[in-house]
Symmetry: C2
């Protein structure tokens, strides 16, 4: 069978079946943001890993190595955030083409260090080897959480409200600006291109240097208000579908309530698609998407976090988008699937 | 600076300096077989990661996917064994070229599962993505050990005897048979080639399906007899140098005492180099190399493990090989360095 017939998420389900017998100490295995592993009675270890491949996840003409190191840390820390955990330890494996100068690799580690140090997570190991076929990055982050506070993707209940922690679509819009700006033009230092406006550069920065919502994930997990949580890496439509599938519920999202940044609204005229499209299927925003019972909304508001209500969880399996006029359309997962690339969108990331 | 000027181990030292401030909970960071991380007062988490790249670490015309999955698990479990730990959890990241059939990926996971299940280690997570440039494998294994039992590379003391747990050189000899046999000829099912003798096939199997010395590492760690321990992945000359460097000692090895299998001795006439060469610089044997005080030798023998004494630790920095006639030659690290390939040996592994 061709792997494109199964798709990325089909493949994950297929692997899950092979390893279905879970050890007692595996509280959460394959299929959530991070694994949750019991090592002592009170505390749980969170483990997450992400691979970044040249010309699939990043393009070295769009990013410098410092920024690439930062982003490699960010995508993993974001998975720890989405479980409510504290990042503790990192392992970094690099496959390095021989033509890359040591100084660039040092820059990579400096960028990685800058973000992980800010969260007091230590680099404790890894692997470095020669790659004949482009730069290969594989990061594992280990985190910790109180046993009672772990929040998975599977706890959403009908009646829950759906929230996000910030504006969506900026990252995908930033990527499009980088791509349409042509290679080389926008590369420069940390993605800043000469001749670009402030709003354009801010969108690009959102793509190149996302900020994982560690503090937000932590507060939400400890609040006791949240039923399901995920980080928006694949796009709102896909990540909401992950929550709905694993919680066996449906959802409706009100298009008008989805938050946008000033920057994407300012640039909207120059972009190929309306901001809503980037928000629904763009991905890589690394905001947190979560659900909470309406009874908990006052307590949630008292946390003084930036949270925006965008919809609600319903019975059944349907996920719909409802527009200003009340028109309901099915909201199909349109995020990136590695093995089923959307036409005209064969490459992801920087 | 070119990365080949620094070399793999120079690069690792360079990275270590960037991240020199260790968190209190990081008992052992970069530079040993696995990191040791404190999570509770009595127990320590071991974490190790290895990357395997197509055409660098393996050649798909020499191995089937089941065997590749097995070996990917083995190289990581071996790092846990070399610290004396129990493997508990695994994360598997794969970058998959679109042309590979799902059935092959399933075979990979079955081989991985066969070995990890035998050691009761659970697959708990990972990442799967598209690769445009060959198969990419990155594995992280998490293990556990009693805090007092962790054995590093840095504890060897002058006067210690040097031991290995089994014959050396088979894996490198097996790789050479695969390579000189020509692509395709020896591929077949699990590396067994038609027209090859039993001894040749056994050497090939030692290369394709190494057995990590988990039980041996565990017994040695708990015995209280062992001062320093490492697994032989880079070759005896390199791995002994790692122990000597980190323990700030020298060593002498008696060439006559290095153990060989019947198979390598039987095939010696057909191989390009004498068995001693494969043993010293071949690598990928995944036997354990360790040092112990002579006062502990009787207790060591009572463990009823296969252990062979091959030399002793001395003061200073010199590492020498002493032959039958008593002639002493410097034993320089000649294992594989990813960024300084030895002439005529540009590719490692299957």
């Amino acid at each position: 069978m061709k792997i494109s017939a199964l798709g990325e998420f089909g493949l994950i389900r297929h692997i899950q079946k092979l390893f279905s017998r879970k050890a007692a100490s595996t509280l959460i295995g394959i299929g959530d943001d991070a694994a949750a592993l019991r090592l002592s009675p009170a505390s749980v270890l969170l483990a997450t890993t992400d691979m970044l491949l040249e010309d699939v996840h990043f393009d070295l003409s769009f990013t410098d190595f410092y920024t690439l190191g930062w982003k490699s840390a960010a995508v993993n820390l974001s998975d720890i955030a989405a479980m409510g955990g504290i990042p503790r330890f990192c392992l970094v494996s690099l496959g390095i083409p021989p033509a890359i100068a040591v100084e660039r690799i040092t820059e990579f580690y400096k960028g990685f260090h800058a973000l992980t140090r800010a969260h007091k997570a230590s680099l404790v190991g890894g692997d470095t080897c020669l790659s004949r076929k482009g730069l290969v990055i594989s990061i594992t982050v280990l985190g910790e959480i109180e046993k009672a506070a772990v929040i998975t993707r599977s706890g959403a209940r009908p009646g829950d409200r759906v929230f996000v922690t910030g504006p969506l679509g900026d990252s995908a819009a930033g990527l499009e600006i980088l791509k349409t700006g042509g290679k080389g033009q926008g590369a420069g230092v940390r993605g800043q291109g000469a001749g670009r406006g402030r709003a354009e550069n801010k969108l690009i920065q959102k793509h190149l240097r996302p900020v994982p919502r560690i503090a937000e994930g932590r507060k939400l997990a400890l609040s006791g208000c949240v039923n399901a949580m995920i980080d928006i890496s694949d796009g709102l439509s896909s990540d909401l579908a992950h929550i709905c599938e694993q919680s066996r519920v449906g959802a409706e999202i009100y298009a008008d309530t989805i938050p946008f940044s000033r920057d994407i609204l300012r640039e909207a005229g120059k972009l190929k698609k309306p901001p809503l499209e980037y928000a629904l299927s763009g991905g890589e925003d690394y905001e947190i998407l979560f659900t909470a019972s309406p009874a908990k909304i006052n307590k949630l508001r008292s946390l003084r976090l930036s949270i925006i209500e965008i919809g609600k969880i319903i019975r059944g399996k349907d996920i719909s988008l409802i527009d200003r006029a009340g028109k309901r359309t099915p909201l199909r997962p349109r995020g990136y699937d590695h093995f089923r690339p959307i036409k005209g969108r064969a490459k992801r990331g920087i």
